[in-house]
Symmetry: C2
Subunit: 230 residues, 2 copies
Amino acid sequence: MRIEVKSDILGENNRTAAQLAKMFLEKGIFVLNIIGSPGAGKTTLLEKVFARLDKRLRVAVIEGDLFTEKDAARIEALGVTAIQLNTQGGCHLDAPMIERAWAELTKDDSRPLPELLIIENVGNLVCPAEFNLGEDMKLVILSVAEGADKPLKYPLIFKEAGAVVFSKTDLLPYVDFDYDGAVSDVNMLHPGVQLFPLSAKTGEGMDEFCCWLMNRAAEKKGTVVGKGDE
Amino acid sequence: MRIEVKSDILGENNRTAAQLAKMFLEKGIFVLNIIGSPGAGKTTLLEKVFARLDKRLRVAVIEGDLFTEKDAARIEALGVTAIQLNTQGGCHLDAPMIERAWAELTKDDSRPLPELLIIENVGNLVCPAEFNLGEDMKLVILSVAEGADKPLKYPLIFKEAGAVVFSKTDLLPYVDFDYDGAVSDVNMLHPGVQLFPLSAKTGEGMDEFCCWLMNRAAEKKGTVVGKGDE
């Protein structure tokens, strides 16, 4: 048994991702692909964002994880629709997985479609960066406890991402994190990238992030002809 | 162009790993493969360990990283021999890379061989767990800032590892880390595994870890016939 090499795996993934992107555009759904190390605070950020949005936006989440369903359970506890994708040890999500999760999310066609679809990728700063999932934007989340050298050490995801979150800023007094250096490295890798320092714990920076997310979803919805009246 | 599937990639890797393990056994060198997320504190732990060992052990380090040479430079600054392996974006080290690094480490045959060889893998809790590098033991390092749910979410590496470090324990007062729960999950995944809670910053737990490391190296050296007199 043989499989195609990396370039072909990526090619096939990109074809499915392009179909997904076209469909999400037609339906006016903003799709955010969240990538970060294990423990960067991806699920906690989502929990706090959804509590703040307080159903002002119809949201659905696709949760990527190796084996467990812990993260989807945390999101569903907030009344937000979540589909768990288990990669069975695989290190990233790919577009065909998103296609299957989307079919599952929308199988009950009496339910309105989401306005915002969030994909929480497998905890990994390396492999997920290479796979497009039909998203509008990748967002990378780096906890200040991980250290300020990470953008230069994992440059691809910081180049690919349209937004960067520095999470757990409440820990800044207790860790050695060269904040200005990290900001400068991120801007060097991706000039003009949107940067959000925040703490899901204390709430610092959360309003700015939620406001940005609502604006992105409204903007995407506005691009759909015939939906301007909503 | 085509490549073999995963099982054959792993088979080829394992053949090289077995040759390396045989060679390290003949030479009485203890080899530790350190795996952890980006920012778990792998390089910082090594810096503090080498400062404490204070040349009581001949050490060499193979540093795995995607692109930069930052980590090898940090280790060499302490007078410890280090070889940097850059994977050019690849998410793990494999045994043929270690073979090449070992050839580079030992090309000057007037220099004595190390007694302890440490391999610092690419920052990733997923992919490196699947690749044997000829090591005696894998060690997984989890920062308490990453959260106590990680052993169950990334079970393979916790099953594979002979030792687990909970790092950055100085942050325990500032993060929500269910310490007893994490210890219980680690013991469930790998009964009897060696567990080291420590802080490279404050020094808590560092003596125990260094002592254990020296004992492992002495034990391995003791297995070599004709080296008992050293």
